[in-house]
């Protein structure tokens, strides 16, 4: 048996692209395998939103007021879709810190692979999971009487906006994951993110909050996505005091783009500092 006398090193842009795709898909497959092998993690991740459907939809729901009138569960579901996307940040961050703290990231870095592959694999796998989570919640919502009332196109656009928010949060998650030292610390992110998901239009219309809190809620990036999807789904509870609340469609695109513009370079820089 002999060894490789010449090693395959990409020298043209086309070859580099082929490498990036091949390596990225290899890592994607690995990341997806993690979830296939641990379905309990997926169920665990969906527990909170599903419980929220039941708890808020039925227990607290009767006491909730939807501004402008309307069914509370119709109001609630888009909020839970948005919240699930936001919690995805913890999924991304904890996957990233698990790999760095166990030395797996260094192993990848010591191999002759496309440097984009680890991040590309992570984002493809996380988006696949987000789509699955969203599908499960939509089924759950349909079961409790929520439904989209807009056109098919509008419904797809709403789902697109939710996934756009999740995509933006992948970069926040990667950055946060690279800042953390242990996988355990990623669990601590959950209570930190909870207020972010609550001080929003998820469960309660910001108009019913104290003025300053209502303003903060309306400017919350998540609220923009949720308000925009309510509008596209034709669900109740639209409107508010601030400029942000009056332009949810615009803000549902602007916020994720801003997050990407800030956190994509930060994540790349953070990766690079690993070799500094």
């Amino acid at each position: 048996m002999t060894t490789m006398t010449t090693v395959p090193i990409p020298r043209t842009p086309a070859a580099r692209l082929r490498w990036a795709v091949h390596d990225g898909l290899t890592v994607t497959r690995r990341d997806l395998t993690h979830w296939i092998r641990s379905p309990e993690e997926i169920f665990g991740g969906l527990m909170f939103p599903v419980l929220s459907v039941l708890l808020f939809g039925y227990v607290f729901g009767s006491a909730m007021v939807v501004p402008g009138g309307g069914d509370y569960r119709e109001f609630l579901l888009p909020g839970l879709f948005g919240m699930t996307m936001v919690f995805g940040l913890v999924i991304t961050a904890s996957a990233v810190v698990t790999d760095t703290s166990r030395g797996v990231t260094d192993r990848f870095r010591s191999m002759p692979m496309a440097s984009s592959a680890v991040v590309a694999g992570r984002s493809i796998a996380d988006m696949a999971r987000a789509a699955l989570d969203l599908a499960a919640l939509i089924v759950c919502g349909l079961a409790v009487g929520w439904s989209p009332h807009g056109s098919f196109g509008a419904t797809m656009a709403a789902i697109g906006l939710l996934l756009l928010l999740r995509f933006a949060l992948i970069w926040v998650g990667i950055y946060v994951g690279l800042l953390l030292r242990t996988p355990e610390s990623a669990t601590a992110l959950f209570p930190l993110i909870l207020p972010f998901a609550m001080i929003a239009n998820t469960f309660v219309a910001p108009g019913l909050m104290p003025t300053w809190l209502g303003y903060a809620s309306e400017w919350n990036p998540m609220s923009a996505t949720v308000a925009a999807t309510r509008e596209l789904f034709g669900n109740p509870g639209i409107g508010g005091e601030t400029w942000a609340a009056h332009h949810p469609m615009l803000m549902a695109i602007v916020w994720p783009v801003v997050l990407i513009l800030v956190f994509f370079p930060l994540s790349v820089r953070r990766f690079q500092t690993m070799s500094r």
Partner: protein, 339 residues
């Protein structure tokens, strides 16, 4: 097997034009105010094991991370398998294996899944990666555990899988950064056995360790590193002879005699003895072996110091280490194995 398929033995020429498999010249790595490496030089001949020894924080891991292209040096240059680690990282990465301090294996994929995934990331075809995985599982005694997840492996098995992954390309150069830290003695022996076999096939190994017996067992040459630079190098025997002579060891029956015995030995040898109250033992370099021994026995007898054992022996690397760095190596006793 044709030349493009899975490799099994390192290429004939693992060295660059310089004739060294690993060459570092004046490596400097600065973090803020600290100089983790401060003019680090190293030259390792192909097919040998170089032990890099030093206390924690001496710069061992920094050196390994630069040589394995994970970290860019602030200054200086390095070549591994004939390629510049900064300018030709991909060439280097095809030719090295790296086993770090914690077993960098994927806990969720199976043992075989790990080998196949990393094989694909070395751009082997699916078929090649599968075949190579089979060979390595066999070679590292993991065939039976092939379809289990490493999180259910013992510490020794994880480390073997880690080594197997490092060996997918049969790399001409292998970096082992404290490969047996935290392992029980039996698993350390297994790793040593594996390393010797690889070296027998022509692989060059750079081994960092703070277990001196590990360096003594495996290394052809040892470089002692402290404060980011190599302060001594040579074969284990050369380093031991550098601190002079053989040692006279006296084990006493009565711990209360340690101070008096030390004074007597200092008088005879005109050297500073080292004492261990709890053993109780006194050691001192003995240039004139027989004369020192007889004189010591005569004086102990005259002073009525009861000796339970006395003998001449070669110095240990521990003593070399203390002499060179002024402090003992971190921990010389292996810890209990991790499950």
């Amino acid at each position: 097997m044709d030349t493009s398929t899975a490799p099994a033995s390192p290429p004939a020429s693992t060295a660059g034009a310089t004739g060294f498999a690993i060459l570092a010249e004046g490596l400097v790595k600065v973090y803020g105010d600290t100089r983790a490496l401060d003019g680090f030089d190293l030259a390792v001949r192909p097919g040998t094991v170089c032990g890099l020894l030093g206390p924690n924080g001496a710069g061992k891991s920094t050196a390994v991370r630069i040589l394995s292209s994970l970290l860019r040096p602030t200054a200086g240059r390095a070549e591994v398998a004939g390629f510049d680690v900064v300018r030709q990282p991909l060439e280097v990465r095809y030719r090295i294996g790296l086993t770090g301090q914690n077993a960098a294996v994927d806990d969720v994929l199976t043992g075989r899944g790990n080998l196949e995934m990393f094989g694909k990331l070395y751009h082997l075809s699916a078929r090649q990666a599968r075949r190579r995985a089979d060979e390595l599982l066999e070679q590292f005694g993991l065939t039976e555990a092939a379809n289990k997840q490493p999180k259910n492996y013992s510490g020794g098995m994880r480390r073997r899988l880690d080594l197997a992954i490092s060996f997918i390309m049969s790399p001409p150069v292998l970096f082992l950064d404290e490969p047996t830290t935290g392992m029980d003695p039996r698993h350390r022996m297994e790793v040593w056995h594996g390393v010797r076999r690889l070296v027998g096939q022509g692989t060059t190994v750079l081994l960092t360790t703070h277990y001196l017996d590990e360096a003594d067992q495996l290394a052809d040459n040892i470089s002692v590193i402290d404060h980011g630079r190599v302060i001594a190098e040579g074969t284990p025997a050369e380093l031991k002879s550098r601190i002079g002579s053989d040692q006279l060891d006296v084990v006493l029956t009565n711990p209360g005699d340690v101070a008096r015995a030390a004074a007597i030995l200092a008088e005879i040898t005109r050297a500073q003895p080292t004492t261990h109250e709890e053993v109780p033992r006194v050691s001192v370099p003995a240039v004139n072996r027989a004369a020192t021994l007889t004189e010591a026995v005569r004086l102990f007898d005259a002073e009525r110091i009861v000796v339970s054992d006395i003998g001449i022996r070669q110095p240990t690397l521990d003593e070399v280490f203390v002499r060179l760095t002024g402090r003992p190596a971190e921990s010389t006793a292996p810890l209990e194995g991790r499950a």
